[in-house]
Symmetry: C2
C-alpha cells in the first residue's frame, strides 16, 4: 500500500527541504513546453478538453440525484457540461460512510496517494489549462501556470506541511520515572492521529485550483473526507481534480466517496446547507468578504480557513528607476485584468510629486506615465489578450463602467480589439485623499485609483490603516530612503500585510511563490489563514494516546 | 535585553528535547523537600501566604477602580484579600496601550522573560501551595505539586512549543529564480511574527494555575498582551502569578500592563464583557461545558481554546492483579475527591463478572472490592485528608447528597473525621445500563457509578460512545486479552480519548505528565484544544514578510 509513498518520497523530501529553506523551488515545471510535457501534450490537452464539451461529466459511484452545470466561457462558448449533483444531506451521508477506512489508513498511505494525485494532475496540465481558461477567463499561459503547476506546487506544499506536522512527535515512547529506591514507573505510550471529520472546500471562480488545493490536500493528507464545492461558474477544474483523486483512491482500494463533488447551479447553491451541517468539521473558503463573514458566523464548531477580499495598495515615495517602476506597476494592474486577489487597487502618490532618476515627477506625471506604460504594454491586441485575459464575471464589466465617474479619468478602460471575449483593460482614476474616501472600498477588477496624499509617509499610513480595517493581501512600496523603508516595513507588518519593495523587471507584487511566500497573513480582514503555514494544517487532525505499563 | 534568554537557554533546550522525545522529564522538582527548595522554604512560604491574608493585594500601576475579593478557604478560613478591579473596557484599553512595545520585542526577549517568570514562580512554590490549597481545597502535597512545579512544567512546555513554532522557518532567505539565458531574479525576503492582540485567560477554581499556564505562557511568548480572569473563588494563585510577571516585565523595561488581572466577584463577573470585546483575539477557557458553549458562540473572531467537561470511564474486562487494580481505582476515585477533570466517573463491569488472578469475581465482588479499597485507603483520617483534600464548591456537596438515590448504594460518602474542612469521600453507586442512563451525565465531584453491562465489549462500546457524545478526557481499561485490548484502543481513539491500560501501583489514570502526555485531545466535546500541541500555539501569532530585489 505504501508503494506510492516510496515512489514519491524524493519529491516529499525536496518539498520539506524547500519549505524549510524558503528559497526558490518548484516540483512541477511552469513552462508549457513540449520538451517538458511531451510534444503532443498541448494538442492532447486541447483535444481532451474539447471531448468534455457538451457531455455529462461522469464520476462512477458518485452520489447523483440530478445533473447540473451551466458554465459559459468568458471567451464566448457555452461548455454545455453537466455534473452529477446531490443535496447536502446525501453528500454528507456518503462522506461519513467513506470516512472510517480513510481515517484508519496510515500517514504514509495518505501522503503517497496525495502526491500521486498531484503527479497525475501535473500530467494533465494542458487539459487543465483549457478548463481554467474557459471558466476563469485567464489567458492560456497564465491558466497553465497558475491553474496547473503553481496550484500543484501549493498542493504539494500543504501535503509537506501536513506530513511534517503529523510526524513531528514520535508514534511511541517509553516514559520512565524514577521512584527513589523503589522500582521506576515505566509506561509505554503510543500516539496516533485522528481526523476531524468532513472537510468542505469552497472554491472561487477566478482561481478554482490554486486557491482550493492547499486546503483540499491538507485535509486529505490528514485523513479527513472531502466535499469539494466549486463555484457554479468554474466547476470543471475541480471536477477534473475530484475525478483524478477518485481514480487513485479506487486503484488503491479505498472508497472513492472519500472525495465528493458538490456541484450546484447559480441561484440554487447548496453551500449554506453544507456549511451549516454539523458533520462538516473543516471549511476552507475562498471568496467575497460578505459571504466569508456568513461562513465564519454559521460554521458552528467547524474550523474555518478563509481567504476573503481586501484593498491592496502601492505607495510611491521615490524611485531610482522611474521607467522600470511604471512598467512593473502597469503589468501588475493589467495582469488578468486586476482579478487577482494580489492585484493592487490603490496607488498612493504625494500630491507634490516624487524624486526619480529622471528628475522630479509631479503627481500627474506619475499617473500619466503608469497609464502610458499600460498603453504600451497592451498596444498589441494579441499581447494584450495574453496579459489581460478575459473578465470572469459580467458583474465586473458593469463595475468598471459604473466606476468611471468616481475620480478624474486618467485612463479609460476598453475592450481588447479582435476578441470575442468579455474583456476590459485597466481603468485608471485619480482622486485626492483629502477630498474623498471612495478608494477605500474594494472594486474587484481592472479599476485603479491613483490617490494623492500629503506625503509618502501619509501614503504609508493610509495604506496600512486601510489594510488593517478592510484587509489587504499585498502591499508595495517604491522608495530610496532606507529610514523611511524601515518605517514602512514596520507599518505594513503591524497591519499584517506582506510588502514588496522596489520591484522592477520580471517580478511583480501579484506573485506569490509556493515553498517561499506565505500567501495571505491571516492577520487582517483579507483572510484568517495563510497558505501554507503550520497553523493551516496543525488543527486538521488531533492526536490520541494509549499507554500501559511496559513489560520488563 | 536577551540576558534572560541566555541564562535560561539550557532549560529551553532541555524542554525542546523533552517534547520531542516525550519520555519522562521535568524542569521543576515536584518533591516539596527542604533539600531542594531550602530548609526554610516551607515555613517562609506559609508565612508569606499568611501575610497576604486580610490585606489588599497590591499591583502597582494596575488599573484599579475598586477592590474585590471574597475567597473562602474550603478549609474554613476567610482569606479577606481584596484585589484591584476594573471594568472590561478599562482593562482592554490598558492592554491595548501596552501592546506595541511587547509586539516589537524579539522572540528571544519574550521567551527569556517567560522562563525567568517560571523560575521565580518555582521559587515561591510553597507560598503558591498554600494559595492553591486554600482556594481549591487540594491537600497541601497535591497543591504543591499540581499548582506549583507541575503547572510550571506545563507553562514551560507551552513556551517551548511557542519558541519552536516561531523559529521553525528562517527569519530571512534569498529567493533566486533562474530565467533561462537572462539574469536570474533574486529577492531577499524577511519574515517576522506578529501577535494576534489581546489574549484572555479564563481560569477555573480547581486548577487555577495548572490549567491556565499553558495558554497564558503560549500567548505571552508569542507577543500578545494578557488579561487573566481568575475564578472568583480562586483569585490568589493567579494574582500572585500576574504579580511575578509584572515584576519581571518592569525590571526588563516593559509596560507592566502587558499582563492584567481581571478580578471580579461572584455574581458580578466581567467574563462576558471581556469575551464579547472585539479587541480580545485569543481566549483560553477552562470550565463547565455550559459556559464553554457560550464562550465559543460569543467569542466573535477570537481564537478559542477550551477545556470543558466530560464523563470519564473505566472498563473492567479482566485482570491479572485484582487487588492492585482495586487499589489503583480506589486512589483515582478518591484523589482530590473526584474534582479532577481526569477523574473517572463510570466503571463498566460485565454483569456476569470478570476473570482475575483471584478467580472469577462477580459484578458485586468488583464493586465491593473497589469500595473496600477506598475504605482501606481512607481509614486513617490524616491520610484521608491528604488524599481527598476538601470540596472546592459547596454545590458539589449538595450534588453528592442528591446523587445518593440515583443507584444502588455500594459505598456512602461521608465527611472526613477531625476536619474543619468541607470534605466528602467517594460515593459509589451501582446501576444497570439496561435499566438506566443516569450515569451518562456528568456528576462533578466524588460520585462514581459501577455500571453493569452485558459484556466487556459492550462496556467499551458504551464508554466510547459516551466519550464521543458527552466528551471525555481520560479512559481506562483493565483486560488480559490482547485482541480485545487492540479493539478497545481503536474504539477509544475513534472517540478521541486518551486510554490507560492495566494501571496498578503508583501511576493513575488521573495523571497527565507535561512534556509527554498531551492533555485533552480536542477530538471530543471535553475540549477543543490539547495541552500542549502545535495547534495550541501556531495560531497565536501570524507571520508577515517584506521582500525586495537583492543588491548584487
Amino acid at each position: 500500500m505504501d508503494a506510492l509513498f516510496d515512489r514519491h518520497q524524493p519529491t516529499l523530501a525536496a518539498a520539506l527541504k524547500a519549505v524549510q529553506d524558503r528559497g526558490y523551488w518548484s516540483a512541477y515545471p511552469e513552462i508549457p513546453s513540449g520538451k517538458i510535457y511531451g510534444e503532443i501534450a498541448k494538442d492532447d490537452g486541447l483535444a481532451s478538453f474539447n471531448l468534455r464539451l457538451g457531455k455529462h461529466f461522469d464520476l462512477p459511484g458518485h452520489p447523483e440525484k440530478s445533473g447540473v452545470g451551466s458554465e459559459v466561457s468568458p471567451y464566448g462558448t457555452t461548455l454545455e457540461i453537466t455534473y452529477p449533483a446531490a443535496d447536502a444531506d446525501t453528500l454528507v451521508a456518503a462522506s461519513r460512510a467513506a470516512a472510517p477506512g480513510w481515517a484508519a489508513s496510515s500517514i504514509e498511505t495518505r501522503v503517497g496517494i496525495c502526491i500521486e494525485v498531484l503527479a497525475r494532475l501535473n500530467r494533465i496540465s494542458f487539459e487543465m489549462a483549457n478548463a481554467i481558461m474557459h471558466t476563469t477567463g485567464q489567458a492560456f499561459a497564465m491558466a497553465f501556470q497558475a491553474g496547473g503547476p503553481h496550484a500543484q506546487d501549493r498542493g504539494l506544499e500543504a501535503v509537506a506541511y501536513a506530513f511534517a506536522e503529523m510526524t513531528r512527535t514520535p508514534a511511541e515512547a517509553v516514559w520512565s520515572k524514577l521512584q527513589g529506591k523503589a522500582e521506576p514507573i515505566i509506561l509505554e505510550k503510543h500516539w496516533r492521529t485522528v481526523p476531524r471529520g468532513i472537510s468542505l472546500v469552497i472554491g472561487c471562480q477566478t482561481f478554482p485550483t490554486w486557491n482550493s488545493y492547499p486546503g483540499l490536500f491538507a485535509s486529505l493528507a490528514t485523513g479527513n473526507t472531502l466535499i469539494v464545492k466549486p463555484h457554479p461558474g468554474a466547476i470543471l477544474p475541480l471536477a477534473m481534480t475530484v475525478a483524478v483523486i477518485r481514480q487513485v483512491l479506487g486503484e488503491e482500494g479505498f472508497d472513492q466517496n472519500i472525495v465528493l463533488l458538490a456541484a450546484d447551479g447559480s441561484g440554487a447553491e447548496i453551500t449554506r446547507d453544507l456549511v451549516e451541517n454539523d458533520a462538516v468539521s473543516i471549511i476552507d473558503y475562498t471568496g467575497s468578504s460578505a459571504f466569508g463573514a456568513w461562513v465564519r458566523a454559521n460554521a458552528g464548531e467547524a474550523q474555518v480557513y478563509t481567504e476573503e477580499a481586501g484593498v491592496n495598495s502601492i505607495v510611491i515615495a521615490a524611485t531610482d528607476d522611474f521607467a522600470g517602476m511604471c512598467s512593473n506597476i502597469a503589468f501588475s494592474l493589467s495582469l488578468y485584468s486586476g482579478q487577482m486577489c494580489t492585484a493592487p487597487q490603490n496607488v498612493y502618490v504625494p500630491s507634490s510629486g516624487i524624486e526619480t532618476d529622471e528628475g522630479h515627477k509631479s503627481f500627474d506625471d506619475v499617473a500619466e506615465n503608469i497609464a502610458a506604460s499600460i498603453d504600451a504594454l497592451l498596444a498589441d491586441p494579441v499581447r494584450a489578450a495574453g496579459v489581460c485575459g478575459a473578465i470572469a464575471n459580467p458583474a465586473t464589466l458593469a463595475r468598471v463602467a459604473a466606476a468611471q465617474t468616481l475620480g478624474r479619468l486618467v485612463r479609460a478602460s476598453a475592450p481588447i480589439e479582435a476578441q470575442n471575449a468579455r474583456t476590459a483593460t485597466p481603468l485608471i482614476l485619480a482622486v485626492d485623499s483629502e477630498e474623498t474616501d471612495v478608494h477605500e472600498q474594494e472594486y474587484f477588477g481592472p479599476i485603479t485609483f491613483i490617490v494623492a496624499v500629503a506625503s509618502s509617509t501619509d501614503g504609508i499610513a493610509q495604506a496600512a490603516a486601510l489594510a488593517r480595517s478592510k484587509g489587504a493581501i499585498t502591499a508595495a512600496l517604491y522608495d530610496t530612503d532606507e529610514g523611511r523603508i524601515d518605517s514602512a516595513v514596520d507599518a505594513f507588518a503591524t497591519a499584517g500585510v506582506n510588502l514588496s519593495i522596489n520591484l522592477t523587471g520580471g517580478i511583480y507584487v501579484n506573485q506569490s511563490a509556493a515553498f517561499s511566500d506565505f500567501h495571505v497573513t491571516g492577520a487582517n480582514p483579507a483572510g484568517n489563514a495563510s497558505l501554507t503555514d503550520t497553523a493551516f494544517v496543525a488543527n486538521r487532525f488531533r492526536t490520541v494516546m494509549w499507554r500501559r505499563p511496559k513489560a520488563a
